[in-house]
Symmetry: C2
Subunit: 443 residues, 2 copies
């Protein structure tokens, strides 16, 4: 008889995991606390559009559904910067042909759910977990029903109910949740006539403004989903923009080109919630051969590296390989999964937070911009010797997050030395500097 | 009408807080999840004897009960080291007349409860908090009773139920719980004939053994409560000492002098639980003018600085002063309390963890021992210029924990420079080194 596996959460990772597990022949039940978003309207407005990149794509290809997903994805070949002075700039993400993909969280989630059901998984909606009996591996729901099984996967997101139960019944659970002092709010740029795109379609738009920023990602209907990342307190902040007039004045002044394209700005601003941004690290992720956390439930991260979903999908891919390697023996699979993925989850959580801090504190620093220029120049001359962490994380699924972080840290150390060279401003593109980097790379 | 205040937890801090609040005329109800330890036997065996020092004493004096407590306290004038080679050494804690006090957690707690009741507080036992309604400031207990009040204090310890409710209903709660990979077990050395002390009475005994250690603190009945701090896993560890024979062999070899005095060793070892050691940091500690965490519930720490209780008592003392300053206006008191105490709680949590790491990793390092020797020599020559962090924390309640940490960090930076001096091993007590420290202190 096939083993019974339960997945808590029919989000992106839970649904994909269900597909993987069904392909291996397990009995799969998925329990989702919310209603079926394919039938009912779900409160939107907290959906940062997603950037699907190579790690996520690899997983979707493994289960044979990438072609389905491609239909709802829009390639983004680089960042399109909308500067404060009104100028624009396009920065390609990588080599030619390398791009990331804008996908709507809602559309992707619906598609994954339906594919999971086609693969034979049962999804049970409106099943809110109240508690878990770890002795019987039984989930008890708020409607007083319950379900027991051989293995439970907690794929229930950053505010995971399974993780809370795990934590409450564990006597040495390492746990850290850390909120940054920024929140985000979803806004929108509607499509133009005939579903046309009113700004460049194939790009991730950024309005960087020092200590805050807005981004916009394209949707297949011609609209853009905008996300404003903004301090909770201070000036300006969500706190200080507390009237329609102040919102309009602020956007007119600081996002003038976007403002012209946002007819529903004040309505969106008043209706959509301010969401928080949290990093969660915890350990252990597993209980013997009975339970494992996966995706955001194991490692929630801030969205500034565009890797939350991709990392969760990669978790599924790694787990799938380990099921193969250990021939379905969960006593071996789960510890190996934790051993492999915990350092990678930590690494991408840290890199995402570092990106936030860089964005906030360093992006206006001329020294930092010079450093980035030197790195870019060196990469151009020696593409084999210096691959930026961003490129490794986004386009090289064969490199582990933890190794990308190590390389990034090593590069940062080298650049510290380079930036302390006298007159670096004048000789930044000289052979002297190039050779110094080469020497440091070898040593 | 007097404001109604509820205190969750009738432990050391909860009981002391109740006394302070009664002295200010508030209506005070204390809710304790356990049974009344003065009437029923409570499972012992997880009680690290406490080291009451100046910060705690200051608070007990403020409420006029230090004389009561002194009856159950035994002065400890220094560390009595039992070395692995069989040698002994006595290290005074401070100047002449400076000492800390061994008190039994159970006896102290019973005394504080009775004093709280005499002061007019009502203690309700067997009241386990199930949830808190933050709108009505109402605690709901597992026996389906409830209690609402103006202000709730969460004094319910490292595994605080009020903190959990606070966390679950907060949308940006910073939270970190961190377990070290060591646990502890209580053991004992009974009294000799006629309640005599079989080892030096007025000392804190330590058997340091590199990556593990045992300590013993005197009780008024002539016995000593021993605590073994030991790794959970590895060799040796709680994991590896899994038979009576292995326990006996291990103690015979590594704690031979103590072993002779521990007739109930294997019984204690088998009966007493292995307890974990956790650091908890969180923020915010308060909810408007309605709720505040205090003591371990706000800042649990590992016991290696002997400050857990002292810090909690100091919390009460600071809070009491603020009630005076702000004339009972909780809207002012609670934010000021958090603002003052959060950095101090963080500081002592960090210092306690650092002490653990030093104990584990550096205590056998000759360089570290030399550094401590140089510091001690300098303190002797310039007692006004170099007060070790240990002394500030333990004997100087007028210096905030956060300032003690700052001074300690500054001293550590200076000593890093000193230790890199050439031939420091040969010239450690020279005027040259002394002057170098003096120069660094000024700059």
């Amino acid at each position: 008889m096939a083993e019974k596996i339960s997945v808590a959460g029919a989000g992106l990772v839970g649904s994909l995991l269900a597909i993987y597990l069904r392909k291996r022949g397990y009995d799969v039940d998925v329990f989702e606390s919310r209603t079926d978003m394919r039938r009912d309207t779900i409160s939107a407005g907290r959906s940062i559009n997603l950037a699907l990149s190579d790690r996520g794509i690899k997983a979707l290809e493994e289960v044979g559904i990438m072609n389905d997903i491609r239909e709802i994805a829009i390639p983004m070949h680089g960042r399109y910067l909308h500067n404060a002075d009104g100028s624009n700039a396009f920065q390609p993400y990588g080599q030619k042909g390398q791009f990331i993909n804008s996908v709507s969280r809602g559309e992707l989630n619906k598609k994954l759910m339906s594919l999971a059901e086609s693969a034979g998984a049962k999804i049970h909606f409106n099943k809110k977990i109240e508690s878990i009996n770890w002795k019987t591996n039984e989930m008890i729901f708020s409607d007083n029903t319950s379900h027991s099984c051989d293995v439970i996967f907690g794929a229930d997101g950053a505010y995971s109910a399974t993780r809370l139960q795990h934590m409450l019944h564990h006597n040495k659970f390492q746990y850290n949740q850390y909120y940054i002092d920024y929140g985000y709010k979803e806004l929108s740029i509607p499509a133009g006539p005939g579903n046309s795109f009113l700004i460049e379609k194939n790009a991730l738009h950024i309005w960087p403004r020092g200590n805050y920023m807005m981004i916009a990602l394209p949707n297949i209907d011609g609209s853009f989903t905008c996300t404003l990342f903004f301090p909770f307190e201070g000036n300006p902040s969500f706190d200080s923009l507390n009237t329609n007039e102040s919102v309009i004045a602020f956007f007119k002044e600081h996002f003038s080109d976007a403002f012209e394209l946002m007819p529903t700005l004040t309505e969106d601003f008043n209706t959509n919630p301010i969401s928080s941004l949290v990093t969660v690290k915890c350990y252990p992720w597993i209980r013997e051969n009975k339970f494992a956390l996966i995706g955001d439930a194991a490692h929630a991260m801030v969205p500034f590296f565009g890797q939350g979903m991709n990392c969760g999908f990669e978790d599924c891919s790694v787990l799938n390989e380990l099921i193969e390697t250990f021939n379905g023996d969960w006593k071996e699979i789960l510890p190996a999964y934790q051993h492999l993925r915990k350092p990678d989850g930590d690494a991408i959580c840290d890199m995402a937070l570092t990106n936030f801090i860089e964005m906030r504190d360093r992006v206006a620093d001329p020294k930092f911009l010079l450093q980035k220029k030197i790195e870019a120049e060196f990469t151009k001359r020696h593409p084999d010797k210096w691959r930026p962490a961003y490129s490794l994380v986004t386009f090289s699924p064969e490199v582990r997050y933890s190794d990308a972080l190590k390389q990034g840290t090593h590069q940062e150390e080298i650049m510290k030395k380079i930036m302390s060279v006298e007159n670096i401003e004048d000789i930044w593109d000289s052979h002297e500097v190039e050779n110094k980097i080469l020497q440091n790379l070898v040593s």
